[in-house]
Amino acid sequence: MSKQAQHWEKTRGLLFVTLAIWFVFSIGIFLFGAEMEASSIRPFGYPLSYYMTCQGSLGIFVILIFWFAGRQEKIDEEFGFSEREDG
């Protein structure tokens, strides 16, 4: 397999992991709005459903993007595809 094909395979793998996490926190948990509301987990005292829509999911997305960017940079470096800084 060529270097480029391997690079793309790893990139795709990272994409699926990223989208899976994204799916859980943007769609998955909101299938259970009522259950989250009734839950005894109450971050900072807020109902869990309310907290996740105000801050929880939003904060996770911020972290997720930075994590994704870091991992993708590693993959690019591994296969020698990262840009030269002056490029």
């Binding site: 994204w22 943007s26 709005g33 900072f44 993708q72 690019d76 020698g80």
Partner: protein, 606 residues
Amino acid sequence: MFKGNFINNLPKIYGTYTGGFIVFIILMAIAEQAGMSAKVIGICFVAFTVLIYALIGYLSRTIQVDAYYLAGRQVPTVFNGMATAADWMSGASFVAMAGGIYFKGYGYMALLVGWTGGYVLVASLLAPYLRKFGCYTVPDFIGTRYGGNLARLSAVIVLTVASFTYVTAQINATGTIASVALDIPFNIAVYVGLASILMCSMLGGMRAVTWTQVAQYIVLIIAYLIPVFWISNKMGAGVFPHLMLADEVARIAELEAQFGLGDVKNSAADLKQVPKGLSGITKAHAEVNTTPWKFISLAVCMMAGTASLPHVMMRYFTTPSVKAARRSVGWSLFFIFLLYSSAPMLATLSKLSLMDPNLATGIIGKSISEVQAIDWYQNWNQANLMFVSDFNGNGTLELNEFFMGGKAVVLATPEIAGLPYVISGLVAAGGMAAAMSTADGLVLAISNALSHDIYYKMINPKAETAKRLLIARVLLVLIGFAGATIAALEIQGILGSVIWAFDFAMSGLFFPLVLGVWWKRANAQGAVAGMLGGLAAGTAYLIAVRSGYPGFLDITQLTFGIVGSVVSLVLMIVVSLATKAPDAATQKMVDEVRVPSGKAILGRQH
């Protein structure tokens, strides 16, 4: 100042600017104590900030194509994040979103999830690849990837429909704020707003818009956070509201029960008296008050729309590298998060200020005549954004007898909570910054697509630079005027039009963009079918629902993008597979796009 090592000096320049703005706020506060009238303070805030943006716009003027379309591809990661955040957070986020949450509670908080989650799609599916491509506009990518003028034209059509819907809402918002702050009629204020928008973008294109957007972000975030922190502390609710308002949220639920939320329904005859656009509280504040599907479908539309809106995508074309484009998406979302996580807190504080009889500011339960005598009530009532009426004739203001416009939640809360007027002036300036920055980005996206993709690429490929830029500027002004004229008609509210824009963009552009990078087999015929078919299906569904068709699967006029994008996806796959695979050159181009290193697909000057 804008030459040589300007980029290295950015932190210093914007640091000084932020300091200067804070000094200006303090001076205004002192002036208020010395007896300056509320009206003059409002005018000072709006006029001063708009003049600064215009000055930045003037200093960034350019006659280079690369600078006009891409800010010279040298915008550093963090600053591009701020500019994108301002570009992104419109009048709808700043002025209308907290209002939506105030009235609809959990159901509308899907917008928060949707408008942030979309950035994960931007970062992972699109932005880095489109940056590698090196295009000037989004249709530029479609036109080159799929090949042919028809694909390019279809992308321009979708872009124009979505962005134009969006921009009328933003010009409407600048008009509202200018009319309240400067005390002039709305249909004149709309053109005042337009003039300020054009001053920022006309001379310097993307370069000017970038540096004004950074300045606007700083103003809008200060203007949003100060009232939230101040009110929370004043009320004794907590030093850091985001982590400490749980008791207040619970207290609102208690008061809702006490005041009989939902027990009394207003009769149709009573509601007729209420001015158009105002509503009362009919939904519980924090309870899960909607079905999972309704919540998720709205969030999904906003996420896919985020990834398809051209004015956001084109901000990532301005970064120095692919790596910077990726990181820049993270910074954008961080800066957006600062405001979005504060909106529900503002809605909570605002509602509690009005409802809680234990607070001096509470009005529910007071006598109608007492409320009608309050200064702020009279002001906002005059602006047609607040209304009370004694429907049951008991002389007391009930929860179902108080009505407010969505915009008033953000704009009037500082006054309601008893903050000095200087804060209201600051909020007006923030709202103006939010609406202007988005309008700038949108007007530029449309006029760039028309001037670059239609005029230069399709009509006159031999046009020289000066002529291209002249055409771009003329189009900018024309589009601005068209937008202002439609905004003056007030067809749909701010939040409603913005949501439509996302659905339009998602219907026509989401799958053609994503599959352009991730599916090599996608070809021009498929993309054209996907773009035009998706847009047509979405639009048809919207019109049908608006004219009384009950719809299916609970898809409403706010989520018609689901219909459009599914049609788009199916058409694109079927038509692509039924026609010839793209040629070897195109396939190789897609391979090139997938790695960050190497030359951009499109040359630096094209």
